[in-house]
C-alpha cells in the first residue's frame, strides 16, 4: 500500500471507508444524481427552443441520468471482480464501452427525428413513437431481453486485456440495454426531453430492471398516460 493511500486511510473514518469498500459504484451514483440536478435546473429556467449543440448536450445528460442507474449492478460486478488497485479504472472502462453504445443509438434517434419531424409533423412522430414504446413494453420477447441485462462475463485481471474486457463488457451490456430500452428512449427524445416524460420513463425502467416480476400493463399505462399529458 502506498504512503498516500495509508495517509488517506488515517483521514477517512472507518465507517465511510467500509461503505466505499462495499459500494465502489458510489461515484457513478453521484454522476447520475448530478445529471438529474442539471436536468431539473435547466427545466426550471429554460423556455427557449434549444440549438443543435444544446440538444446534443441535453441528450448526453439524459443518457447519463437515465441509463447509468440501470447499470449499477453491472458496474459493481466489474469493481468487485477486479484487482483492488484497478477497480475504479475498470468501472470507468466499462462505462466508456456502455456510453459509446448509447452515443451511437442516440445519434441515430436524433437523426431520424430530425428527418421525420419536418416531413410528418412533430405530433404524428411523437404519437407513433408513443405507440411503439407502449407496444414494445408489452411485447413477449422483452422479458428475455431484460434478463440479458444481468449478463456477466469473465474479466481478465490485469494489463490491456483487463481494460479491453471491461470496455467489451460495457459494450455488451450497452447493447443489451439498447435492445431493451430503445423505444422508451426514442419516445423521450420525441417529446423534446420533457422532464415529466423522462421521470416517468425512468421510474418504468428502474421497475423493469430491479423488480423481479414487473407488470407490463402498469408500466405501459404509465407511459401512455404521461405521453398523452405531454402533447
Amino acid at each position: 500500500m502506498s504512503a498516500t493511500t495509508q495517509a488517506a486511510y488515517g483521514v477517512v473514518p472507518l465507517r465511510l471507508r467500509r461503505i466505499g469498500w462495499r459500494h465502489p459504484e458510489w461515484w457513478v451514483i453521484l454522476i447520475a444524481a448530478a445529471a438529474w440536478a442539471l436536468i431539473l435546473r435547466h427545466a426550471a429556467h429554460s423556455h427557449t427552443v434549444p440549438s443543435a449543440s444544446q440538444t446534443i448536450i441535453a441528450t448526453a445528460v439524459m443518457v447519463v441520468a437515465m441509463m447509468l442507474p440501470l447499470t449499477l449492478a453491472n458496474v459493481r460486478h466489474v469493481a468487485l471482480s477486479s484487482l483492488w488497485r484497478r477497480r475504479h479504472r475498470a468501472m470507468a472502462a466499462f462505462l466508456v464501452g456502455y456510453l459509446c453504445c448509447w452515443a451511437v443509438v442516440q445519434t441515430a434517434i436524433q437523426g431520424t427525428l430530425g428527418f421525420l419531424a419536418p416531413l410528418l409533423g412533430w405530433t404524428l412522430v411523437a404519437g407513433l413513437l408513443m405507440v411503439t414504446a407502449v407496444l414494445w413494453e408489452i411485447s413477449p420477447g422483452r422479458k428475455r431481453r431484460l434478463r440479458r441485462c444481468r449478463l456477466t462475463v469473465p474479466l481478465a485481471p490485469r494489463g490491456w486485456r483487463a481494460d479491453n474486457a471491461c470496455v467489451r463488457y460495457g459494450v455488451i451490456t450497452g447493447f443489451g440495454c439498447v435492445t431493451t430500452c430503445w423505444a422508451l428512449m426514442a419516445a423521450v427524445a420525441a417529446f423534446s426531453h420533457s422532464v415529466l416524460v423522462m421521470v416517468v420513463v425512468f421510474v418504468v425502467q428502474i421497475s423493469d430492471r430491479y423488480q423481479r416480476r414487473p407488470s407490463p400493463v402498469l408500466t405501459s399505462l404509465a407511459i401512455l398516460g404521461v405521453c398523452l399529458l405531454s402533447f
Binding site: W21, R144, L151, P154
Partner: protein, 286 residues
C-alpha cells in the same frame, strides 16, 4: 450460488440422472418427472429445517425472496404459492411434520463440507466487518473436459480491505476461490473435483487434503442459455479455502506466482468431449 445448492442438491441430481444419456434428473425441465426428485427435494427441505433449528439461524428476510411465487400443477388444480406461504411446513397449506429433525441427519453433509473445504468453518457466514478483495484471477478460462484440466492464478498482495483486516502475521482471515461463468451446451462429466496447489503432473487422488470441493454440472446447460429466467451467464461457484490455504503456506508450498487449480472429472463421458468452460477462476481474501 449457496453451497447447499451445489452439494448435495446439484450433485445428487447429476449422480442419479447421469450424462450418457442425459437423464431426467440431470435437467431442470425434466427432473420433476422422476419420482426420486420429490424424495430428494423433500430431504433438501428437511436438511434446511434441521439447519434452521440450530441456534440463531433464520430464513433470509429479503422481501424479493419471500415474494417469489411459483405455480404448481395445471388447469383447475393449479396452485400459486409464494415462498412466504411455505416457510413453516406445519401451517396451512402444507400441514406436515418431518419425522426426524435431529441434528444427526446433518452429519453426512457437514462431514462432506468440512472435508471439501479442509475447514469446519465452511458454513459460517462472512463477518460483517470483512469485505472480500480479489487478489488474483486466471488470465483465461479453463475447459471442463473428460480429462483433468488446470489453470494458474497469479496472486497479488492485498491493498484494500483484506490488507486492513489481515492478522498480525499478515495472513488473510478468510480465503475464497471462485469458479466463474461455468457454461456450455455439451457436458463431458457430471461433476468436477477441484484441487488447489497440486505439484505439476501430480495426481489429484494423492492430494485429498488439497481438495477444495466439487462443482456439479446440474443447471449449467440451462444457465448458459439466454431466456426469461436466465441471463446466459452460466453458473458461478464459491468455496471457502481458508484451511487449505493455511496448510499450503505452512508447508511453504504456496506459490503466489503460479497457484494451480485442477479440475478432475467425475463420471466422465467416454464418447462426449463436451464444450463446458469455466470463464475464470479467481481468488479472494477477506
Amino acid at each position: 450460488m449457496g453451497s447447499l445448492e451445489n452439494l448435495p442438491h446439484g450433485d445428487i441430481h447429476m449422480e442419479v440422472g447421469g450424462i450418457q444419456p442425459l437423464g431426467w434428473m440431470s435437467s431442470f425441465t425434466t427432473a420433476g418427472r422422476d419420482p426420486i426428485f420429490w424424495l430428494h427435494h423433500a430431504n433438501i427441505d428437511r436438511l434446511w429445517k434441521v439447519w434452521l433449528n440450530q441456534g440463531s439461524r433464520v430464513n433470509p428476510p429479503e422481501t424479493r425472496w419471500l415474494d417469489m411465487s411459483f405455480t404448481i400443477g395445471g388447469d383447475a388444480s393449479a396452485a400459486t404459492l409464494a415462498v412466504r406461504d411455505v416457510l413453516d411446513t406445519t401451517q396451512p397449506p402444507l400441514n406436515y411434520h418431518y419425522t426426524d429433525e435431529s441434528p444427526s441427519v446433518l452429519e453426512p453433509a457437514i462431514a462432506a463440507a468440512a472435508f471439501a473445504a479442509g475447514s469446519p468453518s465452511e458454513e459460517e457466514q462472512l463477518p460483517e466487518e470483512l469485505v472480500p478483495e480479489m487478489v488474483g484471477a486466471s488470465d483465461e478460462g479453463v475447459p471442463l473436459a473428460a480429462t483433468s484440466t488446470e489453470v494458474e492464478i497469479a496472486v497479488e498482495a492485498p491493498s484494500g480491505p483484506a490488507f486492513a483486516a489481515a492478522t498480525e502475521s499478515q495472513r488473510p482471515r478468510k480465503v475464497y476461490l471462485k469458479v466463474e461463468n461455468v457454461k456450455g451446451e455439451d457436458l463431458a462429466a457430471s461433476s468436477y473435483l477441484v484441487h488447489l496447489g497440486l505439484p505439476p503432473g501430480a495426481s489429484a487422488a494423492e492430494y485429498e487434503d488439497r481438495r477444495v470441493g466439487k462443482v456439479s454440472m446440474f443447471g449449467v446447460l440451462e444457465a448458459s442459455q439466454s431466456d426469461e429466467e436466465h441471463s446466459g451467464s452460466g453458473l458461478t461457484f464459491s468455496f471457502d479455502i481458508t484451511g487449505i490455504f493455511e496448510r499450503l503456506q505452512e508447508a511453504e508450498e504456496f506459490d503466489p506466482e503460479h497457484l494451480r487449480v485442477t479440475f478432475t472429472p467425475v463420471h466422465a463421458s467416454e464418447e462426449q468431449s463436451g464444450n463446458v468452460r469455466a470463464g475464470r477462476v479467481s481468488l479472494f481474501y477477506a
